[in-house]
């Protein structure tokens, strides 16, 4: 009776145990959530996920199952190197951990993306796991399985005992009956029970076409060539229970078994508990005691014995909150990493929701003084959302690897690993892959890819027609349709930029570990969102170039000025620094050196730390798209009264004069004014970031605007808030991050203000970084009174260095790193051999340098201390191949006796061009200086003359093109920065003018423009009306015909050498 009871019950229900999602890359054609939803819709009682040798998709399936109320069974399909595949379904937590450890073993012994497993590995990890043997899907010529399969099945049975089953599947290949007959015979003989599966590859039969295309992409063939590599039919979809029962009507027990296994697998991901590592406490203290101890010690160090009352209140308040939320271990973990960095002298700075707290200040995680702004801790850490705190720590980019290896070494690779990033298929990649698989010509695929401008754009039929393709061609429409389905599929597991998960026990108990592409790195299979779902905590160990620069500046300052600065002891609120920043004198300063920032600074005139926070956040897509910048400026300048749309928004917007500028504010408005729940608001922001969820965005938009108008806000205001959130989607920039960045802004500005020599030297040694080329950094430093010496074989080091003090500042000696094409180890040889000054080229060669290397040095004009200019040096260097050797070593080289050779002397202008070609800057002169005469004849005025003209004046100006930009927010407007010998200036080119002069603007290295001056509060722009390519002036210096190619070649080299950096946004022009 009892058995009958189960029987009846089980027949009413079904669980699919063999499910391949798109996390088996290029095999499964449905997302895990689609599969789960389909199973739920069919009334299946549960669903398993068995991707190939991976657990990467199970968290998504788990989350989807929770939403739909179906039970989810995590599992995987083990593809072995020496036996038939097995479905592995853990019955409890320990079994799950063993499965995860098994996969880790396979992953770590293989290259990234592969997993090498053998039967023996599986036997060693088998306890508590139910295995289902997957037979081959084809029979041999005798209509039977190969002997090897029978042998393997018996061996599996012996190894796994009762936990082993045999999968039976209806493939619809014409021999299903034979399959089932053979399997049931085997089942009878071996006592391996038969279990029904449907080897799911997609949730709906319509996905078969996409699955075929995926097969083609995987096999690198076109659909026409794919042949038998494709499935013959569309039967691999999720089927209703009644259909499964019909298919197995002759083997009803197989259906019962599936249910039996499903009932046995009660393990759920919810039971995984994240536990912090133990090493973070000392002397037997609990984490909370340890945190209090460290915070107290830190506070005493910072404030002395008399801690200010306000600080004391904050500390108490925050510690209470941390205790209540049970977060002390998290803070201690972050502290541990920061402490190590500080011991090693690596600069770091925390940012993120919890980083700008008094506690973090006391722990040294941040150097932002919490009294600088008046924020309640809960503003960052919302208890209601019950979200784990988030602290990202930036480290010097050159030394971050040390910190990462510290984490690996301290906790071990089995306990610490980097979070994965699941790379998704983007539009361009999708259309390329699908187009190729569908057999389109490379040319057509290219055109299709070209028709997609930006990755967030939906495929647009009009664009396709524009490309000259037939928009009604059914084959092309099929390609587009499949592409749309394919977009957003996971493509590979990458490495997160620096998010670490550290646990108390083995990390492999929670999730398999895989090798990363980079040496010495390992990461887990789950990404940030998966981690969030399960409530694991991660800390972000990130790299920041500016920290490297600041550390180098601190080192230089202590060596040459004898002052020891740290991020914390730089004098704060220095009016001189704000004065400098307000005049946009910010070349090289962190974050606020760009053209857009520079034109904002004189309007905003920052005068305190919080102004810098706003400055950092305001020139971002969010506020710009939301049209919040101008209202803020007007209010700040008192041109518009500060008012609030409602009382409730006053709390949120008070600090920014009633204008929402930060991400947090926009989210809060959604909650307070439009009635979103906090998690909905977060989902809204996330859906903006992922281009796949187009439909969701529209849904949210309606909800936000309806909600706000219902609560009495104007539709127009609601629209702006939505636009702003849209802008945040791709470049989320919350206040908590802006605060941390503002500190680095202030510190870099302070160094620039007081030690411009140190600043420029440190910047040159940290390149590539920031917005400007070495030439602009040097010109700017010279303008501030810093002297420079050129690269020289007798004086330079690899890095730029400070030499003797002349007047206020030390003179900078450019380093060899400035010279194009030179290797550091060669220069270390040169420096090591420089026991006394080199006096001949031969002596340099004796230090072990190759002729090619010396030629590069000659190109850089680095032989002046030997009395040779670059041309003479090259003449000398080129004869080195023919030096007396062996017996004649030491005798005079033949060069000494050569007579009658007069190399033509080089003009200064030629030298300058060559300097640019080799070192991308020249200390001798500015290139535009040589053409000033001719420019004047054309009526062109210089940058300095332009500053004395008035608003609306018609001017003609010319200069080297430094930057061309077409920001996404500018509606086609192009911004160009030019430079002449007297300074830099900015051009604005309207879209229509740009289209007319596209060729000139994009082709010119030297550009001349005519237009009207626009002067607004010290910010000067030229509104361009006409453009001329003046590249010929760069070459016109040499009068004779024959000489022309020299300079042309040089100019071209110069162009090429700098193109990459001068043209950073080139992609925008497409």
């Amino acid at each position: 009776m009892h058995i009958n009871g189960i029987y009846m019950d089980s027949l009413a229900s079904y669980t699919e145990l063999q499910v391949t999602s798109n996390f088996s890359f290029l095999r499964g054609a449905s997302h895990p959530d689609e599969l789960v939803e389909q199973a739920a819709a069919h009334g299946h009682s549960a669903i398993a996920l068995t991707d190939r040798n991976t657990l990467a998709g199970i968290v998504r399936a788990h989350a989807a199952a929770k939403k739909t109320g179906i039970r989810f069974i995590p599992g995987c399909r083990l593809d072995l190197l020496d036996g038939p595949s097995l479905l592995a379904l853990p019955t409890d937590k320990d079994a799950y951990s063993r499965l995860s450890a098994l996969l880790t073993t396979g992953n770590l012994r293989a290259e990234k993306g592969e997993c090498h497993l053998y039967r023996a590995d599986v036997y060693a990890h088998a306890k508590g796991i139910i295995f289902v043997v997957v037979p081959a899907d084809r029979l041999n010529q005798l209509f039977d399985y190969d002997d090897g399969f029978y042998a393997a099945a018996r061996e599996y049975r012996d190894a796994f005992g009762d936990s082993c089953y045999l999968a039976a599947c209806r493939y619809y290949r014409g021999d299903d009956a034979k399959h089932l007959y053979r399997l049931s015979a085997l089942a009878g003989e071996t006592q391996l029970p038969l279990v029904a599966t449907n080897d799911i590859h997609y949730h709906h039969p319509d996905r078969r076409e996409l699955q075929d295309v995926l097969t083609c992409i995987r096999e690198k063939c076109t659909i026409a060539e794919a042949g038998f590599r494709l499935h013959p039919n569309a039967e691999r979809y999720m089927k209703p229970i009644t259909e499964m029962r019909r298919l197995f009507r002759q083997y009803p027990n197989a259906i019962v078994r599936a249910q039996e296994i499903s009932e046995a697998c009660r393990f759920t991901l919810d039971s995984l508990k994240y536990i912090y590592p133990e090493e973070i406490t000392s002397e037997g203290r609990t984490p909370m005691e340890e945190l209090i101890h460290l915070v107290r010690a830190g506070a005493r160090q910072l404030f002395g014995e008399n801690i200010p009352a306000r600080i004391e209140t904050n500390i108490r308040h925050e510690l209470d909150f941390i205790g209540q939320m049970n977060y002390p271990a998290y803070f201690l973990t972050v502290y541990d990493v920061v402490r190590y960095a500080r011991q090693q002298g690596i600069l770091c700075q925390g940012r993120g929701s919890a980083a700008n707290s008094t506690v973090c200040y006391c722990l040294g995680i941040t150097s932002v003084d919490p009294t600088k702004f008046d924020l309640l801790f809960e503003r960052f850490l919302s208890a209601a959302r019950n979200e784990p705190p988030d602290i990202d720590v930036d480290f010097e980019h050159e030394r971050r690897e040390e910190v990462m290896q510290y984490v690996y070494n301290k906790y071990g690779r089995d306990r610490a690993a980097i979070v994965a990033t699941v790379t998704q298929v983007h539009q361009k990649g999708a259309i390329r892959d699908v187009g190729k698989a569908m057999g389109l010509s490379l040319d057509t695929v290219d055109r299709l890819a070209k028709s997609i401008w930006r990755h967030d754009e939906v495929l647009n039929d009009a664009r396709i027609l524009e490309q000259g393709l037939d928009g009604y061609d059914p084959h092309l429409l099929k390609v587009l349709d499949l592409t749309r389905q394919y977009i957003g599929f996971p493509r590979q597991l990458g490495q997160h930029t620096g998010g670490f998960v550290i646990t108390k026990g083995k990390l492999t108990d929670l999730c398999p570990i895989i090798n990363a592409r980079m040496e010495d790195r390992t990461n887990i299979e789950w990404n940030k969102d998966d981690i969030d779902v399960l409530g694991f905590l991660k800390i972000d160990v990130l790299a920041l170039g500016m920290l490297t620069c600041i550390r180098k500046a601190f080192d230089l300052a202590s060596r040459h000025y004898g002052v020891h600065w740290t991020l914390a002891n730089i004098p704060q609120d220095d009016p001189a620094v704000y004065a400098m920043v307000s005049t946009a004198d910010t070349i090289g300063v962190f974050q606020i050196e760009s053209r857009a920032q520079q034109s904002m600074l004189p309007r905003l005139r920052p005068s305190c730390f919080y102004d810098l926070v706003i400055e950092v956040a305001i020139v971002r897509p969010g506020p710009i798209q939301g049209d919040m910048v101008h209202p803020y400026l007007r209010r700040r300048n008192g041109e518009e009264p500060v008012s609030f749309p409602s009382k409730e928004l006053e709390d949120i917007l008070g600090r920014t004069l009633g204008v929402p500028l930060f991400q947090e504010q926009a989210m809060k408005i959604a909650i307070v004014a439009a009635g979103f729940t906090p998690s909905e608001a977060d989902e809204l922001r996330r859906s903006m970031a992922t281009f796949k969820a187009q439909g969701q965005v529209t849904k949210f938009k309606r909800k936000l605007i309806d909600g706000m108008t219902r609560n009495g806000y104007s539709a127009e205001y609601a629209e702006r808030v939505f636009k702003q959130i849209e802008g945040f989607g791709s470049y989320g920039f919350p206040e908590s991050h802006a605060v941390s960045f503002a500190l680095l802004v202030y510190i870099s500005a302070w160094i620039k203000c007081y030690y411009p020599d140190v600043f420029v030297c440190a910047l040159l040694n940290s390149l590539p970084m920031g917005f400007y080329q070495p030439a602009q950094l040097v010109i700017d430093a010279r303008r501030h009174g810093v002297g420079f010496h050129p690269v020289d074989v007798n004086h330079s080091q690899w890095d730029s260095t400070l030499e003797a003090r002349e007047g206020k500042y030390f003179t900078v000696r450019l380093g060899f790193r400035q010279v194009d094409g030179i290797k550091e180890e060669d220069m270390l040889l040169l420096i090591a051999g420089r026991t006394q000054a080199y006096d001949t080229v031969q002596a340099l060669q004796d230090s072990g340098l190759s002729a090619a290397c010396l030629e590069k040095l000659a190109d850089a004009d680095a032989f002046r201390s030997l009395g040779l200019d670059r041309r003479q040096a090259l003449w000398e260097v080129s004869s080195l191949a023919d030096r007396p050797i062996g017996l004649f070593r030491g005798t005079d080289s033949e060069s000494k006796f050569e007579k009658g050779i007069d190399l033509p002397a080089m003009a200064l202008s030629e030298h300058v061009v060559q300097d640019y070609a080799s070192t991308s800057l020249s200390l001798k002169a500015h290139p535009v200086q040589f053409m000033r005469e001719r420019l004047r004849n054309l009526g062109v005025i210089s940058a300095s003359e332009m500053m004395s003209r008035r608003n609306g004046d018609f001017v003609k100006v010319a200069g080297l093109v430094l930057v061309r930009q077409r920001p996404g927010t500018s509606k086609g407007v192009v911004f160009i920065t030019l430079e002449d010998e007297s300074g830099q200036f900015n051009l604005i080119v309207w879209a229509s003018v740009f289209e007319e002069y596209r060729k000139e603007i994009l082709g010119a290295k030297m550009l001349m423009v005519q237009g009207h001056l626009q002067i607004e509060k010290e910010v000067v722009h030229v509104i361009v009306q006409r453009c001329h390519n003046m590249n010929r002036l760069l070459v016109a210096e040499a009068p004779e015909r024959g000489a022309e190619p020299v300079v042309r070649v040089a100019a071209k080299t110069m162009l090429e050498a700098k193109q990459a950096s001068l043209f950073p946004e080139a992609r925008n022009f497409k």
């Binding site: 490379l442 290219d446 023919d882 050569e898 033509p904 024959g1042 020299v1046 080139a1066």
Partner: protein, 500 residues
Amino acid sequence: MGKRFLSLWFRHLTTDYMTIRRPELHHIPFVMAVPDHGRKIITAVNAAGRKEGIDAGMVVADSRVLYPTLEVVDEQPGLAGKLIKALALWAIRFSPVTAVDPPDGLLLETTGCDHLWGGEEAYLTAILGRLEAKGYHIRAGMADTIGAAWAVARFGQGNNILPSGQQRSALLELPPAALRIAPDTVDRLHKLGLVTIGPVAGFPRRALRRRLGPELLLRLDQAFGIEEEVLTPVQPVEPYLERLPCLEPIGTAAGIGIALERLLERLCTHLRDDGKGLRESVFKAFRVDGKIMETRIGTNRGSNHVAHLFRLFEEKIRNFEPDFGIELFTLDAPKVEEVTPLQKTLWTGACGTDDPRLAELADRICNKLGPGLIHRYLPAEHYWPERSYSEAGTFEAKPASPWPTDRPRPIHLLPRPERIDVAAPIPDYPPMLFRYQNRLHTIVHADGPERIEQEWWIEGAQHRDYYTVEDETGARYWLFRSGHYTGNHAHQWYLHGFFG
């Protein structure tokens, strides 16, 4: 009199070629490009494109920034080489010593040729006229040396004919790049400020050799005519054509046979030497009265087997009517292919399609009864039965994949499935009986269904459920139902084949 050389420089070789083939490209900017590390690099630009600031060496994506609707033509690898070779062969009409000058030039030794056109001026005009009429842009230079001709073609103004002995003075004004030296050396000369050949030629030779290597001096000497330089002319490819003129007109069938055999022997020796075999051959007889008789044969695989070929012709030359006699026989092989020589002893051992005797038998049958009688099928990787095989064109063709053995297929597949009426339980159980050509078959055994979906990228229609069935007489059939019973689709049963 010394030698004279002509250098022709096709300034836009590949783009001119494309414009000739696609005249609509003439006025729109277009480029030729080749893929390189996932990008496309421009190899050539037409005049309209250059006007837009686009240069060879740029990445296509970057050039599209300059000119968004830029036309891009994929360049087949080796195109320039093929073109220049063809042009060199064409130019043989102007001089027997014609050489290619990669990547985009021709060199002709014109010594003693120009007078046929009435002097160098007219000679050059004739050549340029012909090439320009084709649509090529050319620069030409004539001089005593190859080097000087090359230099003035590329770096002189217009088309230059340097009078004899003037190469030195003409070259001194030109930049070093005119010397055909490595770009590195040109670069270095420029860096040293040596921007014309003049000062370079004036420097002590030792100093130059030490610093810039021997190539520079060699090129200087060649251009000035101090060092001899020879051309390697292109040869026209010899066709497989044999001629047999007869002293006395041949009037008998035996005579024709002997002529054929001689010609075959010669042609086959020639073919064997080149590792070739003929697939097509034409035998012509030129009669004294001016009438030409011809006959052609074809083979199934490349053959240079005299006896076999003779047999193929034998049948056909019977109806040659010598009449007053034949004075010339020719044997031509317009279509040949590579053959791997077989060792004689192996011939007897080979079997199946590897046995040349099988191919020769097929040749004989086809020659006798006409083509299209013998078919050979190979498996094609398609599930859809009508597309699961393909006809092989040659005896050499090997199956790309083995015949599938896991799914039995009827020995006789009907070219078109034929409609039948069945009685079958739904939804997808095998039928119980069917009526075909007015006969009722009761099914006693059945296997299936084998569900085969349409190859959706070829055509979209209903899937088929195939069943292998056996009737009461033991005959086996392959039946299918098109479409599901359920849904709105119509369904129909068909018979598609017979098992043996």
